[in-house]
Amino acid sequence: MRFEKHRDTLTVHLEGELDHCCAQSIRREMDRLLEEPQIRRLVIDMGDMSFMDSSGIGVILGRYRLLASRGGSVAVRNMNRQVARIFQLSGMGQIIEVMQG
């Protein structure tokens, strides 16, 4: 998983597919990066992702809970249309910022 850290922000670039099968390793990898307590904002870049089902919603909401518990936030960017529909359906737009570009 490619990632960058800048001050309190961790940006992760998801690649390939995010389904129930891949969810656990993606979750584990993100949580390892989020262990650093100064990180208060997680940006999930989905530009290189080819597929996501509702397992991805679970992963994003789980990281939101983690960040929210330390007063932080989660944002997503570069969602494709299919992912945007799943996102909208689950009402995640109310708690997770959608960044343009």
Binding site: D19, C21, R27, F51, D53, I57, L61, L89
Partner: protein
């Protein structure tokens, strides 16, 4: 209407088969010449149904997941995903958005809601102790 083509897949309820199952069904559905967006809808719905069979139907056990796909001359695609796992005691409750039996595993409870949004019709039959059949239907209009 009479079937024009049909296929059946059977595989073990292992998470690594989720990708295989959705790609196989979408490769079959390509014969109907769908748009890329329609194909992604089908792939997503199949992924949800197969994941449900693996995660909820068989839980810690391993069983057989069966995926049957067919289409008729009108372009109506029917995909049935079946398991012989634990079954669903209350189907209406299982289909309620955000309902999950495994919140600790960060399951979102959105599987059926996604299937209903991405397909024209979703039918579920289940018998506790015997298994579950999920039928997904989508008509792919000729371009």
């Amino acid at each position: 209407m009479e079937q024009k083509n049909a296929m059946t897949l059977e595989f073990l309820s292992l998470p690594e088969n989720e990708g295989f199952a959705r790609v196989a069904v979408s490769a079959f559905a390509v014969q109907l010449n769908p748009t890329l967006e329609t194909l992604t809808d089908i792939k997503t719905a199949v992924s949800e149904a197969v994941t449900n069979a693996i995660v909820h139907g068989y839980r810690e056990e391993t069983g057989i997941v069966k995926v049957e796909a067919s289409y008729d001359h009108s372009g109506k695609l029917t995909v049935t995903v079946s398991d012989t796992g634990c079954g669903i005691p209350d189907i209406a409750r299982a289909m309620t958005p955000f309902f999950t039996t495994q919140p600790e595993k960060e399951r979102s409870g959105m599987g059926f809601a996604v299937m209903q949004t991405f397909m024209d019709d979703v039918q579920v039959t289940s018998q506790p102790g015997c298994g579950t059949n999920v039928t997904l239907v989508k008509t792919i209009a000729a371009e």
